[in-house]
Symmetry: C2
């Protein structure tokens, strides 16, 4: 399928064209940026909401994602899903039972599910995932879910390309709490304690709330609220509202991340989760954070695209590999260092001179 | 401390100079590449072995690292450690008990432990970690351990900058098996099932062996051995040797990753682990993989350094930000796309023209 054919098919809303467009972007094939550039015109019109869902393996993210899809479908909303998750049934990593269960939603024409391999896309995975979410939005899906597994930097970067980030934990996530302590988990807008019918769930949920400074008992709660460099607010606001019952009180106009309990397998708490997603969306709009966040993400994306283009040009359009090969012996025996050689190559690139083909 | 002073201090093997050099590299401060370039001359002389240790949170990596340090110290080998691990006692994430226990080795002058924050070093974390390991090698540590937590792409990339990669699992690592299934875990040279006194440990170890194709029952075992693109061999070799007792049989000359059982808290299996590390090192040398791997890593590093330099130049030395700011309205309303603007900027950079300050 040529790029023109893909673009025509996308305009006619053909699922096959969407699938091809996604493959093109995933493989960075010829013309992929042209397709994305065209899709860009259709973005940001307010018809689509993006939700990033992440958490440690085994937290039940896929089941929760499925429950969310069903809830959205009951509201007649179309749903596109990108799953970047080696353990997800979408990507074939999980038990057969899960996969069969998922088929119930994946056969629905109002649902489009795409899994992404995490291999090979090193460094650029967050950008590629965001680009695929762009295609889903441009195609007209009203909800776009981005599911990743893990609490590493890459996984968090991906989940945070969405407007709303949900972190899913389970009562057994002792490591979750450790990571929270390390400050890494301040990234989410909503926290979900799934499998909350298990022993220790209430205690764990309270621990998460203490950690986030929502509940008394946290050493941080008398500190000034922590503003994050990306313009989102941290979860350490002082609150006198009810700690875990009902919606969080936001007297200051800041978003205070709620900690919700769910049992995804039975659907308990999923209505509250969709309600919290709506509240966060309304908050983003009312506060101006939506427009601000979008501009910030567009600038970040342009930088990422520029870096990718530059890297590609550097490695393919210049004599870098040739130069590198000719210096490898000197590198190995210590006569030259990676820094000398990189500087030499960069000088040539800057001069637009002999390193350029 | 000036760069010259740091270099003098490093030559005199002053720990304070090493600590300053590491901070300089971590912050990419003025002159950091000069220090690394000088250190490069001292690398690859064979006195140092690098071991990467990774695995999911709670697998007991820190305790195992501590046990390894003690074993190396008993052999009078000096040990440098870089811990990139939000849950590690080195980085302050874990329980107080662990931290106190670790102090026994951290007060030993033959041991140098450095923790790294994972925040802020997005994208370049693997390179920075490898550079800090370089400093430890250049300083003369005979064993350099690189500890990361998680099985995400970033964590694996980091662990694989070492000559030998150890993946630590626990019997409860159900997700471990799922990730194995997804093929991600083919990255390790040695597999350790820690806490192997727990129920289900033998069964889990067998499952890992089946998954790796060491033990009968794997659908892959009749397939051709899987050669990885980076020159390491995969673990799917057909073997008729004993599955879990004694060293793995390697009739073909390929390395077959052993699956070892340990109880890090009591030291069970740690001697076997150090013996397996020695075997892997001997294998790398005898097969020529050591020299080959080193050249491959040096080439990869030079590319990474070049990309970093280029990115820095692009974002600091050119008018990119200015251009981006002036185009942000057009980006937000869809008149321009990130791809148009990135192409415009790249054209200017290539022309060495108006985008350059």
């Amino acid at each position: 399928m040529t790029t023109d054919r893909i673009l025509e098919g996308l305009a006619r809303r053909e699922p096959a064209a969407l699938a091809r467009a996604i493959s093109l972007v995933e493989n960075q094939g010829d013309g992929f940026e042209r397709v994305l550039s065209r899709a860009h015109r259709l973005l940001g019109r307010g018809g689509t909401r993006r939700v990033g869902i992440t958490g440690p393996p085994g937290a039940g993210k896929s089941t929760l994602t499925e429950a969310l899809i069903q809830r959205f479908r009951a509201q007649r909303l179309s749903v596109g899903v990108v799953a970047v998750d080696p353990t997800s049934p979408f990507t074939g990593g999980a038990l057969l039972g899960d996969r069969i269960r998922m088929e119930s939603v994946s056969l629905d024409p109002g649902v489009f599910i795409r899994s992404m391999a995490t291999r090979g896309a090193q460094g650029g995975l967050a950008t590629t995932t965001e680009e695929i979410a762009d295609l889903l939005e441009a195609f007209g899906f009203e909800r776009v879910l981005v599911e990743t597994v893990g609490v590493g930097q890459t996984e968090l970067d991906i989940a945070r390309t969405a407007e709303t980030t949900v972190l899913v934990l389970v009562p057994e996530s002792g490591d979750g709490i450790q990571t929270l302590k390390a400050g890494i988990m301040e990234i989410a807008d909503l926290y979900v304690v799934n499998k909350s019918d298990r022993p220790g769930a209430d205690k764990f949920r309270q621990e998460v709330e203490v950690m986030l400074g929502i509940r008394r008992g946290n050493a941080f709660r008398h500190m000034a609220p922590h503003h994050r460099s990306d313009g989102r607010t941290g979860g350490r606001a002082d609150s006198t509202g009810p700690p875990s019952d009902g919606p969080p009180v936001q007297p200051s106009g800041r978003w205070e991340p709620p900690v919700l309990g769910t049992v995804a397998t039975t659907g308990v708490g999923v209505d509250e989760l969709t309600a919290a997603l709506d509240r966060h969306y309304a908050y983003l709009q009312a506060s101006g954070m939506m427009a601000e966040g979008r501009r910030r993400r567009l600038a970040a994306r342009t930088r990422a695209v520029l870096e990718r283009k530059l890297r590609r040009w550097l490695l393919e359009g210049t004599r870098v590999e040739e130069l590198l090969a000719s210096r490898l012996d000197e590198l190995a025996d210590g006569r030259r260092s990676p820094y000398d050689i990189a500087a030499e190559i960069l000088d040539q690139v800057k001069a637009g001179g002999s390193a350029t083909r």
